[in-house]
Protein backbone atom coordinates (compact mmCIF):
# COMPACT_ATOMS: atom_id res chain seq x y z
CA UNK A 1 0.00 0.00 0.00
CA UNK A 2 2.98 2.26 0.66
CA UNK A 3 3.86 2.42 -3.03
CA UNK A 4 0.30 3.41 -4.04
CA UNK A 5 0.35 6.30 -1.57
CA UNK A 6 3.72 7.49 -2.90
CA UNK A 7 2.49 7.26 -6.48
CA UNK A 8 -0.72 9.15 -5.67
CA UNK A 9 1.27 11.89 -3.98
CA UNK A 10 3.57 12.19 -6.98
CA UNK A 11 0.60 12.24 -9.39
CA UNK A 12 -1.12 15.00 -7.40
CA UNK A 13 2.13 16.96 -7.28
CA UNK A 14 2.58 16.71 -11.04
CA UNK A 15 -1.02 17.78 -11.69
CA UNK A 16 -0.50 20.85 -9.51
CA UNK A 17 2.77 21.56 -11.37
CA UNK A 18 1.01 21.36 -14.75
CA UNK A 19 -1.81 23.62 -13.57
CA UNK A 20 0.71 26.19 -12.32
CA UNK A 21 2.69 26.07 -15.57
CA UNK A 22 -0.49 26.64 -17.60
CA UNK A 23 -1.48 29.54 -15.35
CA UNK A 24 1.97 31.09 -15.72
CA UNK A 25 1.47 31.56 -19.48
CA UNK A 26 -2.20 32.54 -19.17
CA UNK A 27 -1.46 36.26 -19.58
CA UNK A 28 -4.70 37.21 -21.37
CA UNK A 29 -7.89 35.81 -22.92
CA UNK A 30 -8.60 35.29 -26.59
CA UNK A 31 -11.72 37.41 -26.14
CA UNK A 32 -9.48 40.33 -25.13
CA UNK A 33 -7.03 39.74 -27.99
CA UNK A 34 -9.89 39.40 -30.51
CA UNK A 35 -11.78 42.46 -29.32
CA UNK A 36 -10.15 44.57 -32.02
CA UNK A 37 -11.11 42.21 -34.82
CA UNK A 38 -14.16 43.00 -36.93
CA UNK A 39 -17.11 40.78 -36.09
CA UNK A 40 -17.75 37.92 -38.51
CA UNK A 41 -20.67 38.71 -40.80
CA UNK A 42 -24.04 37.26 -39.83
CA UNK A 43 -23.91 33.94 -41.65
CA UNK A 44 -27.07 32.96 -43.52
CA UNK A 45 -26.59 29.74 -45.39
CA UNK A 46 -29.26 28.18 -47.57
CA UNK A 47 -30.13 24.51 -47.75
CA UNK A 48 -29.03 23.76 -51.33
CA UNK A 49 -29.60 20.00 -51.41
CA UNK A 50 -31.36 17.40 -49.31
CA UNK A 51 -30.00 13.89 -49.89
CA UNK A 52 -32.76 11.34 -49.39
CA UNK A 53 -32.20 7.62 -49.41
CA UNK A 54 -31.43 6.35 -45.94
CA UNK A 55 -34.30 4.66 -44.11
CA UNK A 56 -33.12 5.13 -40.52
CA UNK A 57 -30.96 7.35 -38.32
CA UNK A 58 -27.75 8.64 -39.90
CA UNK A 59 -24.76 8.24 -37.62
CA UNK A 60 -21.83 9.40 -39.72
CA UNK A 61 -20.73 11.21 -42.85
CA UNK A 62 -17.35 11.95 -44.42
CA UNK A 63 -16.48 14.02 -47.49
CA UNK A 64 -14.20 12.64 -50.17
CA UNK A 65 -10.95 14.52 -50.82
CA UNK A 66 -12.41 15.27 -54.28
CA UNK A 67 -14.90 17.67 -52.60
CA UNK A 68 -17.76 16.14 -54.55
CA UNK A 69 -18.42 12.62 -53.24
CA UNK A 70 -19.41 11.74 -49.72
CA UNK A 71 -20.05 8.58 -47.70
CA UNK A 72 -22.84 8.35 -45.12
CA UNK A 73 -23.73 5.58 -42.66
CA UNK A 74 -27.13 4.71 -41.28
CA UNK A 75 -28.55 2.14 -38.92
CA UNK A 76 -30.67 0.98 -41.85
CA UNK A 77 -27.56 -1.15 -42.44
CA UNK A 78 -26.14 0.72 -45.42
CA UNK A 79 -23.31 2.96 -46.42
CA UNK A 80 -24.31 5.26 -49.27
CA UNK A 81 -21.79 7.06 -51.46
CA UNK A 82 -23.24 10.23 -52.97
CA UNK A 83 -22.40 12.57 -55.82
CA UNK A 84 -23.33 15.74 -53.93
CA UNK A 85 -23.36 17.93 -57.07
CA UNK A 86 -26.26 15.94 -58.56
CA UNK A 87 -27.69 14.46 -55.38
CA UNK A 88 -27.43 10.95 -56.89
CA UNK A 89 -26.37 7.83 -55.05
CA UNK A 90 -23.30 6.31 -56.70
CA UNK A 91 -22.77 3.17 -54.60
CA UNK A 92 -24.67 1.37 -51.85
CA UNK A 93 -22.67 -0.87 -49.53
CA UNK A 94 -24.72 -3.30 -47.45
CA UNK A 95 -23.30 -3.77 -43.95
CA UNK A 96 -23.05 -7.10 -42.11
CA UNK A 97 -23.98 -5.33 -38.88
CA UNK A 98 -26.53 -2.52 -39.02
CA UNK A 99 -25.34 -1.04 -35.69
CA UNK A 100 -22.98 1.34 -37.39
CA UNK A 101 -21.61 4.37 -35.52
CA UNK A 102 -19.19 5.87 -37.98
CA UNK A 103 -17.85 5.88 -41.51
CA UNK A 104 -14.93 7.38 -43.41
CA UNK A 105 -13.47 7.55 -46.89
CA UNK A 106 -9.79 7.19 -47.82
CA UNK A 107 -8.14 10.25 -49.42
CA UNK A 108 -7.81 8.24 -52.67
CA UNK A 109 -11.57 7.65 -52.81
CA UNK A 110 -10.95 3.91 -53.32
CA UNK A 111 -11.84 2.67 -49.84
CA UNK A 112 -14.53 3.31 -47.23
CA UNK A 113 -14.54 2.17 -43.60
CA UNK A 114 -17.39 1.60 -41.19
CA UNK A 115 -17.90 0.16 -37.75
CA UNK A 116 -19.98 0.28 -34.61
CA UNK A 117 -21.37 -2.11 -32.02
CA UNK A 118 -19.80 -5.07 -33.83
CA UNK A 119 -16.43 -3.83 -32.41
CA UNK A 120 -14.93 -4.13 -35.90
CA UNK A 121 -13.78 -1.73 -38.57
CA UNK A 122 -14.78 -3.08 -41.99
CA UNK A 123 -12.85 -1.79 -45.02
CA UNK A 124 -14.58 -1.93 -48.39
CA UNK A 125 -13.10 -1.29 -51.83
CA UNK A 126 -15.78 0.70 -53.66
CA UNK A 127 -13.85 0.88 -56.92
CA UNK A 128 -13.88 -2.88 -57.47
CA UNK A 129 -16.41 -4.32 -59.97
CA UNK A 130 -18.89 -4.45 -57.13
CA UNK A 131 -18.11 -3.12 -53.62
CA UNK A 132 -15.86 -5.74 -52.03
CA UNK A 133 -14.89 -6.19 -48.37
CA UNK A 134 -11.11 -5.87 -48.19
CA UNK A 135 -10.51 -6.29 -44.45
CA UNK A 136 -12.34 -6.78 -41.19
CA UNK A 137 -10.19 -5.17 -38.48
CA UNK A 138 -11.08 -7.16 -35.41
CA UNK A 139 -9.20 -6.54 -32.17
CA UNK A 140 -10.96 -3.77 -30.30
CA UNK A 141 -12.76 -4.93 -27.18
CA UNK A 142 -15.44 -2.30 -27.42
CA UNK A 143 -17.54 -0.50 -30.02
CA UNK A 144 -15.94 1.35 -32.89
CA UNK A 145 -16.86 5.03 -32.49
CA UNK A 146 -14.72 6.67 -35.17
CA UNK A 147 -12.18 6.03 -37.91
CA UNK A 148 -9.98 8.06 -40.28
CA UNK A 149 -7.75 6.79 -43.09
CA UNK A 150 -4.19 8.09 -43.32
CA UNK A 151 -3.86 6.44 -46.75
CA UNK A 152 -5.01 3.28 -48.55
CA UNK A 153 -2.69 1.27 -46.27
CA UNK A 154 -3.26 2.79 -42.82
CA UNK A 155 -6.31 3.70 -40.76
CA UNK A 156 -6.79 5.12 -37.24
CA UNK A 157 -9.71 3.93 -35.11
CA UNK A 158 -11.24 5.09 -31.80
CA UNK A 159 -13.10 2.62 -29.58
CA UNK A 160 -15.38 2.24 -26.58
CA UNK A 161 -12.61 0.02 -25.13
CA UNK A 162 -10.82 3.36 -24.26
CA UNK A 163 -8.04 2.88 -26.81
CA UNK A 164 -7.27 4.17 -30.29
CA UNK A 165 -5.41 2.11 -32.80
CA UNK A 166 -3.38 2.42 -36.02
CA UNK A 167 -3.92 -0.51 -38.38
CA UNK A 168 -1.89 -1.82 -41.30
CA UNK A 169 -4.41 -2.54 -44.05
CA UNK A 170 -2.00 -4.76 -45.97
CA UNK A 171 -1.85 -7.26 -43.07
CA UNK A 172 -5.05 -6.36 -41.23
CA UNK A 173 -3.04 -6.15 -38.00
CA UNK A 174 -2.67 -3.48 -35.31
CA UNK A 175 0.51 -1.41 -35.73
CA UNK A 176 0.23 0.98 -32.78
CA UNK A 177 -2.16 1.03 -29.80
CA UNK A 178 -2.77 4.37 -28.07
CA UNK A 179 -3.55 3.79 -24.40
CA UNK A 180 -4.17 6.50 -21.84
CA UNK A 181 -7.86 7.45 -21.81
CA UNK A 182 -9.91 6.10 -18.90
CA UNK A 183 -13.26 6.39 -20.66
CA UNK A 184 -14.73 5.32 -24.03
CA UNK A 185 -13.01 7.08 -26.95
CA UNK A 186 -15.73 8.80 -28.96
CA UNK A 187 -13.95 10.73 -31.71
CA UNK A 188 -10.64 11.47 -33.36
CA UNK A 189 -9.16 13.98 -35.81
CA UNK A 190 -5.86 13.86 -37.72
CA UNK A 191 -3.49 16.86 -37.80
CA UNK A 192 -2.95 18.53 -41.19
CA UNK A 193 0.62 17.14 -41.33
CA UNK A 194 -0.59 13.63 -40.32
CA UNK A 195 2.15 13.32 -37.67
CA UNK A 196 -0.29 13.53 -34.78
CA UNK A 197 -3.95 13.05 -34.00
CA UNK A 198 -6.29 14.11 -31.25
CA UNK A 199 -8.93 11.97 -29.49
CA UNK A 200 -11.94 12.88 -27.34
CA UNK A 201 -13.38 10.52 -24.73
CA UNK A 202 -16.05 9.93 -22.09
CA UNK A 203 -13.44 10.77 -19.43
CA UNK A 204 -14.05 14.42 -20.46
CA UNK A 205 -10.51 14.82 -21.76
CA UNK A 206 -8.94 15.27 -25.17
CA UNK A 207 -5.49 13.78 -25.85
CA UNK A 208 -2.86 14.61 -28.47
CA UNK A 209 -0.92 11.57 -29.74
CA UNK A 210 2.20 10.98 -31.83
CA UNK A 211 0.96 8.75 -34.66
CA UNK A 212 4.23 6.83 -35.04
CA UNK A 213 5.44 6.21 -31.47
CA UNK A 214 2.03 5.85 -29.80
CA UNK A 215 2.87 8.31 -27.05
CA UNK A 216 0.33 10.70 -25.56
CA UNK A 217 1.96 14.14 -25.77
CA UNK A 218 -0.67 16.35 -24.12
CA UNK A 219 -3.98 16.03 -22.25
CA UNK A 220 -6.64 18.76 -22.31
CA UNK A 221 -9.14 18.98 -19.48
CA UNK A 222 -12.02 21.32 -18.63
CA UNK A 223 -15.09 19.64 -20.09
CA UNK A 224 -17.46 18.20 -17.51
CA UNK A 225 -18.92 15.43 -19.65
CA UNK A 226 -18.25 13.16 -22.64
CA UNK A 227 -16.42 14.71 -25.57
CA UNK A 228 -18.40 13.59 -28.63
CA UNK A 229 -16.71 15.59 -31.37
CA UNK A 230 -13.27 16.96 -32.14
CA UNK A 231 -11.64 18.84 -35.01
CA UNK A 232 -8.31 20.50 -35.76
CA UNK A 233 -8.16 24.22 -36.42
CA UNK A 234 -6.76 24.42 -40.00
CA UNK A 235 -3.36 25.74 -38.84
CA UNK A 236 -2.87 22.51 -36.88
CA UNK A 237 -2.02 24.49 -33.72
CA UNK A 238 -5.40 24.30 -31.99
CA UNK A 239 -8.28 21.87 -31.58
CA UNK A 240 -12.02 22.35 -31.05
CA UNK A 241 -14.00 19.91 -28.91
CA UNK A 242 -17.76 19.46 -28.52
CA UNK A 243 -19.28 17.83 -25.45
CA UNK A 244 -22.39 16.50 -23.74
CA UNK A 245 -21.82 19.38 -21.29
CA UNK A 246 -23.41 21.56 -24.04
CA UNK A 247 -20.24 23.54 -24.71
CA UNK A 248 -17.42 23.63 -27.23
CA UNK A 249 -13.87 24.55 -26.28
CA UNK A 250 -10.81 25.62 -28.23
CA UNK A 251 -7.52 24.30 -26.85
CA UNK A 252 -4.26 25.77 -28.16
CA UNK A 253 -1.60 23.05 -28.48
CA UNK A 254 1.38 25.34 -27.90
CA UNK A 255 -0.12 27.12 -24.85
CA UNK A 256 -1.32 23.69 -23.66
CA UNK A 257 -4.70 24.98 -22.44
CA UNK A 258 -8.20 26.13 -23.21
CA UNK A 259 -8.14 29.54 -24.93
CA UNK A 260 -11.82 29.96 -25.79
CA UNK A 261 -15.21 28.52 -24.85
CA UNK A 262 -18.47 28.50 -26.81
CA UNK A 263 -21.59 28.30 -24.68
CA UNK A 264 -24.96 29.90 -24.23
CA UNK A 265 -27.04 29.76 -21.05
CA UNK A 266 -30.11 29.14 -23.19
CA UNK A 267 -28.52 26.11 -24.84
CA UNK A 268 -28.95 22.94 -22.88
CA UNK A 269 -28.40 20.36 -25.58
CA UNK A 270 -25.25 18.28 -25.97
CA UNK A 271 -22.89 18.86 -28.89
CA UNK A 272 -22.76 15.84 -31.21
CA UNK A 273 -20.52 16.99 -34.05
CA UNK A 274 -18.16 19.79 -35.07
CA UNK A 275 -16.51 21.11 -38.22
CA UNK A 276 -14.73 24.33 -39.22
CA UNK A 277 -14.84 26.57 -42.27
CA UNK A 278 -11.63 26.66 -44.31
CA UNK A 279 -10.14 29.76 -42.60
CA UNK A 280 -11.05 28.46 -39.14
CA UNK A 281 -13.15 31.54 -38.41
CA UNK A 282 -16.48 29.69 -38.34
CA UNK A 283 -17.25 26.68 -36.16
CA UNK A 284 -20.25 24.59 -37.15
CA UNK A 285 -21.62 22.51 -34.28
CA UNK A 286 -24.44 19.99 -34.39
CA UNK A 287 -26.56 19.64 -31.27
CA UNK A 288 -29.08 17.20 -29.76
CA UNK A 289 -31.77 19.89 -30.18
CA UNK A 290 -32.00 19.31 -33.97
CA UNK A 291 -30.03 22.47 -34.87
CA UNK A 292 -26.55 23.33 -35.99
CA UNK A 293 -25.17 26.53 -34.47
CA UNK A 294 -22.49 28.61 -36.18
CA UNK A 295 -19.92 30.24 -33.88
CA UNK A 296 -17.29 32.93 -34.49
CA UNK A 297 -14.21 30.99 -33.34
CA UNK A 298 -12.34 34.15 -32.25
CA UNK A 299 -15.05 36.20 -30.55
CA UNK A 300 -17.03 33.19 -29.26
CA UNK A 301 -20.32 34.69 -30.48
CA UNK A 302 -23.10 32.81 -32.21
CA UNK A 303 -23.35 34.14 -35.78
CA UNK A 304 -25.90 31.85 -37.37
CA UNK A 305 -27.95 28.71 -37.18
CA UNK A 306 -28.82 25.93 -39.62
CA UNK A 307 -32.29 24.64 -38.89
CA UNK A 308 -34.27 22.23 -40.99
CA UNK A 309 -33.72 18.80 -39.50
CA UNK A 310 -36.53 17.05 -37.62
CA UNK A 311 -34.25 15.18 -35.28
CA UNK A 312 -30.78 15.30 -33.73
CA UNK A 313 -27.92 16.48 -35.97
CA UNK A 314 -25.51 13.56 -35.49
CA UNK A 315 -22.72 14.40 -37.92
CA UNK A 316 -21.36 17.31 -39.86
CA UNK A 317 -18.57 17.98 -42.35
CA UNK A 318 -16.99 20.63 -44.55
CA UNK A 319 -15.16 19.45 -47.70
CA UNK A 320 -11.48 20.38 -48.14
CA UNK A 321 -12.31 23.19 -50.60
CA UNK A 322 -14.63 24.78 -48.01
CA UNK A 323 -17.45 25.28 -50.51
CA UNK A 324 -20.25 24.01 -48.32
CA UNK A 325 -21.27 22.19 -45.18
CA UNK A 326 -23.19 18.93 -44.88
CA UNK A 327 -25.30 17.97 -41.88
CA UNK A 328 -26.52 14.43 -41.22
CA UNK A 329 -29.39 13.67 -38.89
CA UNK A 330 -31.39 11.03 -37.06
CA UNK A 331 -34.24 12.18 -39.33
CA UNK A 332 -32.48 10.10 -42.07
CA UNK A 333 -31.60 13.08 -44.28
CA UNK A 334 -28.37 14.79 -45.24
CA UNK A 335 -28.52 18.48 -46.04
CA UNK A 336 -25.94 20.56 -47.88
CA UNK A 337 -25.77 24.26 -47.10
CA UNK A 338 -23.83 27.25 -48.38
Amino acid sequence: MGEMDTLKKEADGLKTQIEAARKAVNDTTMAAVASGVAAAPRVQLKNRKTLKGHLAKIYGLHWSADNRHMVSASQDGKLLIWDTYTGNKVYAVPLKSSWVMSCSMAPSGNLVASGGLDNMCTIVNIKAASPKTLRELDAHEGYLSHSRFLSDTEILTASGDTTCCLWDLETGKQKVIYKSHVGDCMCLAVSPDQNSFISGACDSSAKLWDVRDGGCKQTFIGHTSDINAIAFFPSGTAVITGSDDCTLKMYDLRADQEVNGYQDAALNAGVTSVSLSSSGRLIFAGYDNFNCNIWDSLKAEKVGVLSGHDNRVSCIGVPDDGLGICTGSWDSFLKIWN
Partner: protein
Amino acid sequence: MSSKMQSSNNTAHARRAVQQLRIEASIERIKVSKASADLMHYCGEHAKYDPLLMGIPASENPFKDKKPCTIL
Protein backbone atom coordinates in the same frame (compact mmCIF):
# COMPACT_ATOMS: atom_id res chain seq x y z
CA MET B 1 -8.08 -12.53 -10.17
CA SER B 2 -6.34 -12.82 -6.79
CA SER B 3 -6.23 -9.65 -4.74
CA LYS B 4 -2.43 -9.70 -5.00
CA MET B 5 -2.62 -9.59 -8.82
CA GLN B 6 -5.28 -6.92 -8.64
CA SER B 7 -3.19 -4.68 -6.38
CA SER B 8 -0.14 -5.14 -8.60
CA ASN B 9 -2.33 -4.19 -11.60
CA ASN B 10 -3.42 -1.06 -9.75
CA THR B 11 0.22 -0.21 -9.00
CA ALA B 12 1.22 -0.76 -12.62
CA HIS B 13 -1.66 1.50 -13.69
CA ALA B 14 -0.65 4.18 -11.17
CA ARG B 15 2.99 4.00 -12.31
CA ARG B 16 1.92 4.49 -15.94
CA ALA B 17 -0.26 7.47 -14.94
CA VAL B 18 2.68 9.10 -13.12
CA GLN B 19 4.98 8.42 -16.10
CA GLN B 20 2.44 10.10 -18.39
CA LEU B 21 2.09 13.12 -16.09
CA ARG B 22 5.90 13.50 -16.01
CA ILE B 23 5.91 13.71 -19.83
CA GLU B 24 3.10 16.27 -19.86
CA ALA B 25 4.64 18.38 -17.10
CA SER B 26 7.91 18.74 -19.02
CA ILE B 27 6.63 20.38 -22.23
CA GLU B 28 7.36 23.97 -23.26
CA ARG B 29 4.38 26.32 -23.28
CA ILE B 30 3.94 29.62 -25.12
CA LYS B 31 1.94 32.55 -23.79
CA VAL B 32 -1.81 32.63 -24.46
CA SER B 33 -1.36 36.16 -25.88
CA LYS B 34 1.00 34.82 -28.57
CA ALA B 35 -1.15 31.72 -29.23
CA SER B 36 -4.30 33.85 -29.63
CA ALA B 37 -2.53 36.37 -31.86
CA ASP B 38 -1.27 33.59 -34.12
CA LEU B 39 -4.74 32.04 -34.46
CA MET B 40 -6.25 35.46 -35.22
CA HIS B 41 -3.53 36.07 -37.81
CA TYR B 42 -4.28 32.74 -39.48
CA CYS B 43 -8.00 33.58 -39.71
CA GLY B 44 -7.19 37.00 -41.11
CA GLU B 45 -4.82 35.65 -43.77
CA HIS B 46 -7.26 32.98 -44.95
CA ALA B 47 -10.58 34.82 -44.61
CA LYS B 48 -10.72 36.00 -48.21
CA TYR B 49 -10.39 32.40 -49.44
CA ASP B 50 -13.12 31.07 -47.12
CA PRO B 51 -16.26 30.56 -49.26
CA LEU B 52 -18.61 30.08 -46.28
CA LEU B 53 -17.43 33.38 -44.78
CA MET B 54 -17.28 35.39 -48.02
CA GLY B 55 -20.28 33.97 -49.84
CA ILE B 56 -20.26 32.12 -53.15
CA PRO B 57 -21.43 33.67 -56.43
CA ALA B 58 -24.28 31.63 -57.92
CA SER B 59 -22.28 30.86 -61.06
CA GLU B 60 -19.53 29.21 -58.98
CA ASN B 61 -21.77 27.31 -56.58
CA PRO B 62 -21.62 23.58 -57.42
CA PHE B 63 -24.52 22.78 -55.05
CA LYS B 64 -26.94 25.36 -56.33
CA ASP B 65 -29.67 23.89 -58.53
CA LYS B 66 -29.37 25.35 -61.99
CA LYS B 67 -32.78 26.40 -63.18
CA PRO B 68 -33.37 27.38 -66.78
CA CYS B 69 -33.81 31.12 -67.34
CA THR B 70 -37.03 32.40 -68.79
CA ILE B 71 -36.92 35.62 -70.74
CA LEU B 72 -40.17 37.42 -70.11
